[in-house]
């Protein structure tokens, strides 16, 4: 389930109405297009100053939520998906720079390729792989010890990790179903013990063209 669905549930709870039917209908992917397409379904996005180097910024995108331990070593990225960070550095909510990531290879032999940060060749909901050399590549690793690569000042990782999201979603569902009136204390993290596919990039903030940024993530597929 994507975070969007989780928060749709939040909305429903906030409404405080008889909403069970709506929840049933929404309790999967967050749209018809993304249903059955976990590799393109963004679970979360994180943007933060590097704890190890204040001059760096860290970008994290997770997709394909709720990977059980039994599938941790066999879940991979989709070579037909372009994973992208879009960065606005002048406050108009239009991307000035993009960082792109895509995999080649299948099974346990995937490589994640990175391009940018660089100006996008197209703005908005259509996109292309930007021209020019790759800034970094790294082998996709689903192992406890991550494979990490650094090139052009950019450190990169791609592979299965623990899902960093935490929330007592089970109790929340009971609340909105009218089976409970309060959260548990302590709560129980529904996402504990589950994995996601993660792409992590750390790079000098100076490469992003400003101090005040707006960042969003996107996934795209070739048009049929």
């Amino acid at each position: 389930m994507s975070r969007k669905v989780v928060l749709i549930l939040l909305l429903v709870a906030a409404a405080g109405l008889g909403v069970t039917r709506f929840i049933t209908a929404s309790d999967h992917k967050d749209s018809m297009l993304l249903a059955g397409d976990p590799a393109a379904d963004i679970a979360d996005l994180y943007t933060f100053r590097s704890p190890t180097n204040p001059a760096n910024v860290v970008l994290v995108m997770t997709v394909s939520g709720f990977i059980p331990p039994s599938e941790a070593s066999t879940t991979f990225f989709d070579p037909n998906v372009l994973y992208q960070w879009k960065i606005d550095n002048d406050g108009d909510a239009v991307e000035d720079l993009v960082i792109q990531a895509f995999v080649t290879g299948t099974g346990g032999h995937q490589v994640m390729h990175f391009r940018g940060p660089a100006k996008a060749s197209e703005i908005g909901s259509t996109t292309r792989v930007i021209e020019g050399p790759e800034t970094a590549t790294v082998a996709v690793s689903n192992t406890p010890t991550p494979i990490v690569a650094t090139r052009n000042g950019m450190t990169v990782f791609a592979g299965v990790r623990d899902d960093p999201f935490f929330f007592d979603l089970v109790q929340f569902k009971k609340i909105i179903a009218g089976e409970a009136s309060a959260f548990r204390n302590p709560g129980v993290d529904t996402f504990a013990g589950t994995n996601v596919l993660a792409i992590v990039v750390e790079l000098p903030s100076s490469l992003l063209g400003g101090t005040k940024l707006s960042v969003w993530g996107s996934t795209s597929r070739p048009q049929l």
Binding site: R161, D162, F166, F183, S214, Q223
Partner: protein, 171 residues
């Protein structure tokens, strides 16, 4: 070394039509195998999903508009969706002024960060930030039964160094 030499020979062959003698596969493409293998090159792609804030904004988008929202761009959010957010917040009982202020913070749906300041949700988002409780507070205010899910941290510790996320749970 052999492979590199053959690539160079192959490159020369393609440029000068001279056979790359001694290479097992002199007609192999010259580009890196990683690059040549991508199916995405030179194709126009269409956005399937997007993500800015941890989804508060998306919460306010009706089901029948969700695909349009996922296909859209932040620069269109204020015009297309802000009024829906305001209306929803007012339906929850917020007055027009506070609904409008909150809707302005939620649209466009981007993750804002000022890198000159420490990162804490809503100035960026760290893995350890308790985003859900922040959002529950936003929605439920001082209602102590509902404004905190009492899951305050991840189930396993984050790493202090790159890639920061904990290793996978495996069998």
């Amino acid at each position: 070394m052999k492979r590199t030499a053959c690539r160079v020979a192959s490159l020369l062959a393609s440029l000068t039509a001279i056979a790359a003698a001694g290479c097992q596969n002199s007609s192999a493409p010259i580009t890196s195998p990683h690059i040549e293998a991508s199916v995405l090159m030179h194709q126009q792609m269409l956005q399937e999903d997007r993500f800015g804030l941890p989804a508060i904004a998306t919460v306010f988008i009706p089901t029948d508009l969700r695909d349009a929202y996922n296909l859209g761009s932040p620069s269109g959010d204020v015009a297309t969706f802000k009024s829906l957010i305001v209306a929803k917040l007012m339906a929850f009982g917020q007055d027009a002024a506070s609904a409008n202020a909150l809707a302005s913070a939620l649209s466009p749906d981007v993750q804002p960060i000022d890198l000159s300041q420490p990162s804490n949700f809503l100035n960026g988002r760290k893995p350890s930030d308790d985003v859900i409780t922040a959002e529950l507070h936003l929605i439920f205010g001082s209602n102590a039964a509902l404004n905190d899910d009492h899951v305050d941290a991840n189930d396993v510790p984050f790493l202090t160094t790159f890639p920061y996320l904990a290793g996978p749970h495996v069998q």
